[in-house]
């Protein structure tokens, strides 16, 4: 089926990701639907109140976004040019919201409060263009809704989240995959949304139910492990797999900072005083600098520093991901028991 026709061939659904309750009606392989008993008919019948802010997702044509975007009054927040033209842009208009663009992935318009997201993707299969939706747009909407998003993978161990924080290439996805294969619950691959429960404790929310594994990482998994891990959606720069995951947030139990290129690879050292600069620089979104957002980032980081055990994991090139994940799993289980 052509990608454009495939887009509209889906019944309305509701899902949860990044702390948002999502509502849409297009195929979304990375956003597993809530069980039917949680969602009555979306066609006018009364629905249960959402557990989190409701964000509606709509597919539109690019001209719809272009027509909604004013000719003046907007400010460019980000322009990423890697030498072959603009790769990504983010523009802000105080009344209309945020216009996000990614070359090859299309346009998105996010309302100022993050409650409405309109996507105008190119003619690609859902799993492919939705890398932009789940990798950039929804984390942005989550921050607008009051959550904070960190550049981290996470799994659930013993009912609590362990976050693996680090830049691209640090090994987050490899470790997440290995931990899931060892029995941990998958939460998220690249972006971890946090907020605080009514008692002030930090909660970690599931992200998209997709991991992107580099070819070298995939090759290290046996065929049985690949099958156990998830369903292959497609191959691009990485292999994208859909994994099973819960819809529910869990308390944040521990944070592991992955540092690369150092000796003593594989060591796990306690960080009794995490550097606030490293914590704050681990945010996934650097360009949204409203007062509310900046204060929320500070609050969340201060809460992490004061209440969540932190460790540094030294990862050197060639580290055996299987062995490191086993050590990390044992360490986390002992810590959280």
């Amino acid at each position: 089926m052509p990608a454009r026709a495939e887009r509209s061939a889906a019944a309305p659904w509701r899902s949860r990701a990044f702390g948002l309750e999502l509502e849409g009606s297009f195929p979304a392989p990375g956003l597993p639907p809530l069980p039917p008993d949680r969602v009555t008919s979306l066609r006018g019948a009364a629905r249960p109140a959402p557990a989190a802010p409701l964000t509606r997702l709509e597919l539109v044509e690019p001209r719809t976004i272009d027509q909604a975007w004013p000719d003046s009054g907007a400010r460019r927040l980000l322009a990423e040019d890697l030498g072959q033209g603009l790769e990504r842009t983010i523009d802000h208009h105080p009344e209309i919201g945020y216009r996000l663009f990614a070359r090859g992935f299309g346009l998105a318009l996010v309302s100022p409060d993050g409650r409405l997201v309109r996507c105008a993707p190119p003619d690609l299969a859902p799993w492919r263009w939705q890398r932009f939706l789940v990798g950039r747009v929804l984390p942005w909407a989550a921050i607008l809704s009051g959550l904070e998003a960190f550049h981290a993978g996470a799994v659930a161990v013993g009912g609590k989240a362990i976050a693996l924080v680090g830049p691209s290439g640090a090994g987050k996805t490899s470790l997440v995959a290995r931990l899931v294969l060892a029995g941990a619950g998958f939460l998220t691959d690249d972006v971890l949304a946090l907020d605080r429960a009514s008692d002030g404790a930090l909660r970690a929310h599931p992200g998209a139910s997709v991991v992107g594994l580099r070819a070298a990482e995939l090759e290290q998994l046996s065929a049985a492990e690949r099958e156990r891990l998830g369903t292959l959606l497609g191959n691009d720069d990485k292999a994208y797999l859909s994994l099973a995951r819960s819809h529910e947030a869990v308390p944040l139990g521990a944070v592991y900072f992955l540092t690369t290129g150092e000796r003593a690879g594989g060591s796990i050292e306690p960080l009794p005083a995490p550097d606030p600069r490293i914590l704050m620089a681990s945010t996934f979104v650097l360009t949204l600098a409203t007062p509310d957002r900046l204060q929320n980032l500070l609050d969340v980081c201060a809460e992490i520093a004061s209440s969540v055990p932190a460790h540094r994991v030294r990862v050197e090139p060639g580290t055996d991901a299987r062995a490191l994940a086993a050590r990390l799993d044992a360490h986390a289980r002992a810590l959280l028991s």
């Binding site: 009794p272 005083a273 995490p274 606030p276 600069r277 704050m280 600098a289 007062p291 900046l294 204060q295 500070l298 609050d299 980081c301 201060a302 520093a305 004061s306």
Partner: protein
């Protein structure tokens, strides 16, 4: 900040210190971070500076804070006076406090 007005330590120590509403700070394990919401800038304060700012916020003037800090930090008052006056000037430069003449609203 008017650098000429607040050049002398004695003037700074006699000033009224106000922490503006647009400045928020949070404690971390071994330092604190202050955020100026108007400039969108974060500032890190070490343990000593954090404690000085905390006592300053509770005192009418920096001079009043000197006595408490001298006892707490185990340093002579003259040392604390110099450090505190310098800190106040730096914080004021960054908009994290405001220095006002005593009696000024």
């Amino acid at each position: 900040m008017d650098r000429v007005r607040w050049e002398r330590d004695a003037d700074v120590l006699a000033a009224r210190v106000v922490v503006p509403d647009h400045v928020v700070s949070r404690a971390f394990v071994d330092q604190s971070v202050a955020l100026n919401l108007r400039t969108s800038r974060y500032y890190s304060l070490n343990v000593t500076a954090s404690r000085m700012l905390e006592v300053l916020a509770q005192s009418d003037t920096p001079a009043e804070a000197v006595t408490a800090l001298s006892a707490e930090l185990g340093e002579p008052q003259t040392v604390i006076e110099r450090s505190l006056a310098g800190l106040c000037r730096e914080l004021a430069e960054r908009g994290l406090i405001e220095l006002r003449d005593a009696g000024e609203g």
